[in-house]
């Protein structure tokens, strides 16, 4: 039998339905791959017993003929998703050994459809980071290395564990979340496919909150089709999240292979940065050529407020984080430091429980919301956000179906290489992805090529609100043209 871990999700589904192999066999193959890949540090908690029991149940469901759309498919779950009875930490010391008594809506929908949980995946602490280096469980290794080098590179972040595990074939797909690029940037760094759907498409209930007006869940997968299958199960209305929309979830997979003839694709001139590496520029025009060859029409567009998206984000996101993270007080769950009075209890617990990046963002968020500074920072940033969104609306109103950009300004870099002296250096990783969160739009990152050092690079497609199907159709055109990329196993 071929190695079951090398199958695409769509192929595994066929094999399971035809009873070529069982979910238990498929799950065991992945559990053993996880064991051999512990040096990547992608999983922060392995749940083999639960995985096998879920696999046996899926096999029984398949035998009865009522296996759901993901019956028997083993997945990894970002540690930001609350999983009932399984430790959930957001990779922060402050949550300690928090064991949820409830299940997030997104994961409960995956289990409803028959998926199997292999374990919990590493991420940046509270999803704050672009390299998965802020996790209290330590950094994650990227399965990709530079040609002829043994240096371990970051997988991107914050969903670094998700991207690394999918790229290393440790799980067939993974849940992830994206506040400023945390699905798309790690997908680009690992040659996987990641989609951040429209704000409101997936319920945020039961996902540890970072910045509530920007956070969205989505999948990281091995192919565009696999991503479409996963999103279909993850998306949907949830009365427990008042920002989740009550719109029927389409069959995203049906969009794969649909003609893109006549679609208008915008190329935004503001994304052509000074000093952008030539290979990114080359990849971008290759992507445009592939879409053109498939019958799409390319048009230059302007999104004049692009350069203000990242600074506005670094006001809005920390402000919302400072409010959301106020709940970690050492009283109701997680870490508690002893103190003489209740104020010291809060202060000592939060000083010890939050890592440096989280402390920094909570403090900047507190500052921009504080009396006397609110108007100058927060209110101004929210006005700029209105302008960023309007740029996209104007563009779509002129008939543009989707916008093509690079996913990241560089390929993956080494652990500890960036952001040591100046935090802003790390933040610049999200320059192409953050606009999409600010405007609430869907965005997909698709592997598109390699840099000169043999590292993967991705392209991003940005769509109209709730038109994820367009992104799947276009994404698959890029995937077909670029081919697939698998790292050589060294772990």
């Amino acid at each position: 039998m071929t190695d079951l871990t090398s199958l695409m999700l769509a192929e595994a589904r066929k094999g399971l339905a035809a009873k070529t192999f069982t979910s238990l066999e498929l799950t065991d193959a992945h559990l053993s791959a996880i064991e051999k890949a512990r040096m990547l540090n992608a999983f922060v908690m392995e749940t083999p017993e639960q995985a096998r029991s879920m696999a046996r149940e899926a096999d029984a469901r398949i035998a009865r003929g009522d296996g759901g759309p993901l019956a028997g498919i083993p997945l990894g779950i970002k540690d930001l998703f609350a999983t009932k009875g399984v430790r959930t930490t957001a990779c922060s010391k402050i949550l300690g050994n928090f064991v949820p008594t409830y299940e997030s809506t997104v994961t409960s929908q995956l289990w409803r459809d028959g998926a199997v949980m292999l374990g919990k995946l590493n991420n940046d602490e509270f999803a704050m980071g672009s390299a998965n280096e802020t996790s209290c469980f330590g950094p994650v290794g990227n399965p990709w290395r530079r040609e002829g080098s043994n240096t371990t590179l970051v997988p991107g972040g914050s969903s670094g564990g998700s991207a690394s595990a999918v790229a290393a074939l440790l799980c067939m797909g993974a849940t992830a979340t994206d506040t400023g690029g945390s699905i798309r940037q790690p997908a680009a760094f690992t040659a996987t496919v990641g989609i951040k759907p429209t704000y409101g498409r997936c319920s945020r209930w039961g996902i540890v909150a970072f910045a509530s007006s920007l956070d969205q869940a989505g999948p990281i997968a091995r192919s565009v089709r696999d991503a479409a299958m996963l999103l279909r199960s993850m998306a949907g209305h949830d009365p427990k999240d008042t920002t989740s929309v009550d719109i029927a979830v389409p069959d995203y997979e049906a969009a794969i292979g649909k003609s893109v003839k006549g679609m208008k694709i915008g190329i935004p001139k503001e994304y052509r940065l000074d000093g952008m590496p030539a290979e990114i520029e080359k990849l971008w025009s290759a992507g445009a050529d592939w879409l053109k060859a498939a019958g799409a029409e390319l048009v230059e567009v302007s999104l004049p407020h692009t350069k203000y998206a990242l600074p506005a984000y670094y006001i809005v996101a920390p402000a919302e984080a400072s409010s959301n993270l106020a709940r970690y007080d050492g009283v109701r769950y997680g870490l508690r430091e002893q103190a003489k009075n209740v104020t010291e209890l809060y202060e000592n617990t939060r000083a010890r429980g939050f890592g440096a990046e989280v402390r920094r963002r909570v403090m900047i968020g507190t500052y921009v919301l504080s009396a006397g500074y609110y108007d100058a920072y927060y209110l101004r940033a929210q006005k700029v956000r209105t302008l960023i969104k309007k740029d996209f609306e104007d563009c779509f109103a002129r008939g543009v179906n989707a916008i093509l950009t690079p996913a990241t300004p560089s390929a993956a870099f080494g652990i500890g290489e960036k952001g040591g002296a100046d935090p802003v250096e790390m933040y610049l990783n999200d320059i192409f992805t953050v606009t999409v969160n600010m405007a609430g739009l869907p965005g997909i990152a698709v592997p598109a090529g390699m840099d000169a050092q043999g590292l993967p690079l991705g392209l991003q497609l940005i769509g109209r609100p709730f038109e994820e199907e367009t992104l799947f159709s276009l994404g698959e055109v890029i995937e077909q043209a670029a081919g697939r990329f698998t790292p050589a196993r060294w772990w």
Binding site: Y314, L345, F354, R360, M363, P423, G440
Partner: protein, 95 residues
């Protein structure tokens, strides 16, 4: 705008994060790097622009005014570091 050491201490207290004296200069530098970075927003003309309150145009949903959850006190305190019965324990607040 930039923050001085006293402001760093004040923000830390507002954020309820204990900061030792020797951490202040470092934090001050980092916060000022972030403030320098966001300073470019002041060049945007926002005259007459509405601040964003909802990224997707939607009506705030309202739920029925009925009890649909509850009776789970055991679960609520299950993860608490210090409890007595169904109460969270904190250091004495009122003398």
């Amino acid at each position: 705008m930039s923050v001085d050491a006293a402001t760093v201490r004040r923000i830390a207290h507002l954020a309820r994060i204990a900061v030792s004296e020797d951490e202040v200069p470092h934090l001050q530098g980092e916060l000022n790097a972030m403030l320098d970075f966001v300073e470019q927003l002041s060049e945007v003309n926002v005259e007459g622009v509405e601040p964003m309150t909802s990224v997707t145009p939607m009506q705030m949903k309202k739920r029925q005014d009925v009890v649909d959850d509850g009776g789970i006190a055991d679960q609520i305190v299950a993860n608490a570091p210090a409890t007595e019965g169904h109460f969270f324990l904190v250091p004495k607040v009122v003398e």
